[in-house]
Amino acid sequence: MPAQDERELRIVGFLCNWCSYGGADTAGVARFTQPTDLRIIRVPCSGRIDPLFVVRALLNGADGVLVSGCHPRDCHYAEGNFYARRRLEMLKRFLPITGIDERRFEYTWVSASEGQRWQHVVTEFTRRIHELGPAQSFNPATQEEWFNLALNEASKGEACACHGS
């Protein structure tokens, strides 16, 4: 069951093995129905999640990226989510300058026991991504667009006002 319409969007999830992956399992065991768009990549710890994985996914055309780890202070490795929190917060804050809607990326904390919370997180995030619709591809989709892009840029002078004056 996709969130709102028939068409699935591409949502990538990065989940730490100890808490959130377990939380997603708990939700499954409890048969908490969730939208099907999300595909989960299991990592040992949210501290293993390089913000550049998120960037890679978004530039590859992912419509949404969701990261979830253990609640702060509950990290299996004591400190991983503390580092993750800083890294991911900076990524989220940075996205607006790139023009990529920062709402397409979210990070949160779900423990292994929070099956219901996981259902809520997935449902809400999927709903949000469907509201935003499919992401625009950073690379042109067609041969023609590639060509136009090349023309555009050839005809352009200075890129930014900073360099004009």
Binding site: Q34, A78, G80, N139
Partner: protein, 660 residues
């Protein structure tokens, strides 16, 4: 590679909402997949045999199973592929049950999702490589930190099991809080009669080395091979000579030292043996109150000591010891009740803590077992007990229940009646929590046989009224305010983490929770393990606990240590970080972010700094991999390439059409 894919139906658990045959068919077209099939129960005996046969017949060098969560059966399947001669890390799982079939009913979407998950697993597997665990020797010695009843039990069990034990205790004597108690619930048996023999065993056991007046200074190393530095405070008495005869304590003229053992219910001498049953029974000087140490005058103890063991120049001593496992049993401390303004903040001497009351009840206490109130030494007739002082109260940031106060309050009410037959006890309580064996019966006895008046409600105010204290509170059952005149008020002071627990946690890499109690590995299934391999918890350092539970946990921790060190060699998980030395520029950022101290700096042959992972210490979190800008340190089995392969499998990059 030659990859085999096995799609599990899990009866109808998966096949009910996923078209397993089509997933298997789709998978046969994935890169390097040479064999793809589906089966009813892949984890069953025939299912596993099917995998093994396929590995042999199809000459597979990697296997993907799409079934339930890897948290369930990954070890099962790893063993299966290992039986067929593959390395266990040449195996990946796709979770198409908990993450697919159980959370949605749309078969088409589920089938697509399952296929995607299989593709991700295949793409990751293509970048897996065989990993071999390292094995290493262990040191057959256990460090027990804390000499309370939990630590004593753990130490004795380990020693009886044949391990060497080093026990470190911060105070002058072992025994902990239990040694201060008069009697114990629910049997009203004498605390020191139960504990005393065990303390003596500690002193006499040939496998146990005891360091008191000592604390942990530093810990390095890893499971099986810890290296510990212990700081032993100067006692100014040579304990190799001291016989504990006590002559010095009789003659010491400085009699105004705070009596820590008696919970400050009186004073003691500057040179002191805390209590008659102390282990070790040795004297120590309190340098803060010793006039010889403070002012250079006196020296009486040195003159009277028959063996000449007094040494005013003694210094702290650092002791190094290597151990294979560590049991943390640092216990608890009492909540500082002065934070409550309504109890007088210490203005009224006849408001005391429950532990102080234990000392008043104890025959070896400052009053010789006669209950005398501190202000005027009179015997109290009305004793008011107030429960939950620093427990279950968010306003003082102690929302948790201290667990055993209900029980000891009932015990103290009973003992009060025993000591003073014409006394009357009142207990202000919130709820009575008595879930142990014989516990509820015990609290009932306090009420029914010993006539303790239980008032359900909080106390709002204590104020002096003549020679008495007036205790005003709510009686929520009667819906009224009550005032009870009291000769003595005993606060059932709650439990908090022992002082210094957080700092010790940092030293041991064991995480304290927000209240300072150490966090166990799993609240149900690993209650004495910590997330640092080889470090175990016993007793109240993990959370409030009564004596039986602490003793039980002491034994449990000992069993874990014995189990661990019963193996000649230990194997480390090979899914740990690994440094590509040629890429490493020696910036040492990874060393700084590693929570386990598992990375060290080395100098290579050209004299350049490089990082090196201590494989047995690394826990495999991958923080370092993200820290390293060059990608020089990679967490095996979760390398950048493996995770990127999964990302790219899910979201294939859009390439320039002209290049395709």
């Amino acid at each position: 590679m030659r990859i085999g894919v096995f799609i599990c139906h899990c009866g109808s658990n998966i096949a009910g909402t996923v078209d397993c045959e089509s997933v298997a068919e789709l998978a046969s077209g994935f890169p390097e997949v040479v064999y793809s099939t589906d089966s009813m129960y892949t984890c069953s005996e025939p299912g596993q045999e099917g995998i093994i046969t396929a590995i042999h017949e199809q000459k597979l060098d990697g296997v993907v199973v799409a079934s339930c969560t890897p948290r369930m059966h990954e070890p099962t399947f790893r063993r299966a592929v290992e039986r067929a001669g593959l390395n266990r890390y040449m195996f990946e799982m796709a979770n198409i049950r908990e993450h697919v079939s159980w959370i949605g009913k749309d078969k088409e979407h589920n089938t697509n999702k399952a296929a995607d998950l299989v593709l991700m697993a295949v793409e990751k597997l293509r970048r897996n490589r065989p990993l071999v665990p390292k094995s290493f020797e262990t040191i057959k010695r256990v460090l027990v930190i804390g000499g309370g009843v939990a630590g004593i039990q753990a130490a004795l069990d380990c020693a009886d099991g044949g391990l060497d034990v080093v026990m470190v205790e911060r105070d002058q004597s072992i025994g902990g809080k239990m040694a201060k108690l008069d009697k114990t619930f629910p049997t009203i048996d004498c605390s020191s009669c139960v504990l005393g023999p065990k303390m003596v065993d500690i002193a006499q056991h040939e496998k146990i080395t005891l360091h008191t007046c000592a604390e942990i200074e530093a810990v390095s190393g890893y499971v099986g091979n810890f290296s510990v530095t212990i700081r032993r405070r100067a006692t100014y008495v040579d304990w190799t000579k001291c016989t504990g005869c006590g002559v010095c304590t009789e003659k010491c003229p400085s009699k105004r030292s705070p009596d820590v053992f008696n919970e400050f219910m009186g004073t003691t001498t500057a040179i002191n043996i805390p209590f008659p049953q102390a282990i070790p029974k040795k004297a120590a000087i309190n340098p803060a109150t010793c006039t010889m140490i403070q002012k250079g005058k006196c020296g009486v103890c040195a003159k009277v000591c028959p063996v000449g063991c007094i040494d005013y120049e003694q210094q702290d001593e650092l002791i190094n010891v290597d151990v294979g496992a560590i049991v943390v049993a640092t216990g608890y401390d009492l909540f500082d009740w002065h934070k409550y303004p309504q109890y007088g903040e210490g203005r009224y001497p006849d408001v005391i803590t429950s532990l102080q009351y234990e000392r008043l009840l104890s025959a070896s206490g400052p009053t010789g077992g006669h209950i005398k109130r501190p202000s005027d030494g009179k015997e109290p007739k009305n004793v008011v007990f107030i429960q939950c002082v620093g427990s279950r109260d968010r306003s003082v940031d102690r929302p948790y229940c201290s667990g055993f106060c209900c029980m000891y309050t009932a015990k103290q009410a009973i003992l009060t009646k025993d000591h003073i037959p014409d006394s009357q006890s009142y207990v202000f309580y919130m709820d009575i929590r008595a879930p142990g064996k014989g516990y509820d019966e015990f609290t009932r006895r306090a009420m029914e046989e010993y006539g303790a008046q239980y008032v359900r409600g909080r106390v709002a105010m204590i104020y002096p009224h003549g020679e008495q204290l007036m205790v005003r509170g709510a009686d929520t059952l009667a819906g009224t305010q009550v005032e009870v005149p009291a000769d003595l008020v005993v606060l059932a002071t709650g439990v908090e983490a022992a002082q210094g627990a957080v700092k010790l946690g940092e030293t041991l890499r064991v995480v304290p929770d927000q209240y300072g109690f150490f966090v166990e590995s799993h609240p149900k299934l690993k209650p004495v393990e910590t997330n640092t391999a080889g470090v175990y918890l016993a007793g109240a350092c993990q959370g409030p606990k009564d004596i039986p539970t602490s003793v039980g946990q002491g034994s449990a921790a000992a069993a874990k240590a014995l189990g661990l060190l019963s193996k000649e060699r230990l194997e480390s998980d090979p899914a740990v970080s690994k440094v590509n030395l040629s890429r490493c520029v020696g910036c040492q950022k990874c060393i700084g972010t590693c929570p386990f101290g598992a990375i060290k700096a080395i100098t290579d042959r050209q004299g350049k700094l490089k990082a090196e992972v201590i494989e047995t210490v690394c826990q495999g979190c991958g923080i370092c991999t993200v820290t390293c800008p060059q990608g020089a340190i990679q967490l095996e089995h979760f390398t950048d390439n493996q995770i990127l392969a999964e990302v790219n499998a899910l979201c294939p990059p859009k390439m320039n059409a002209s290049f395709e």
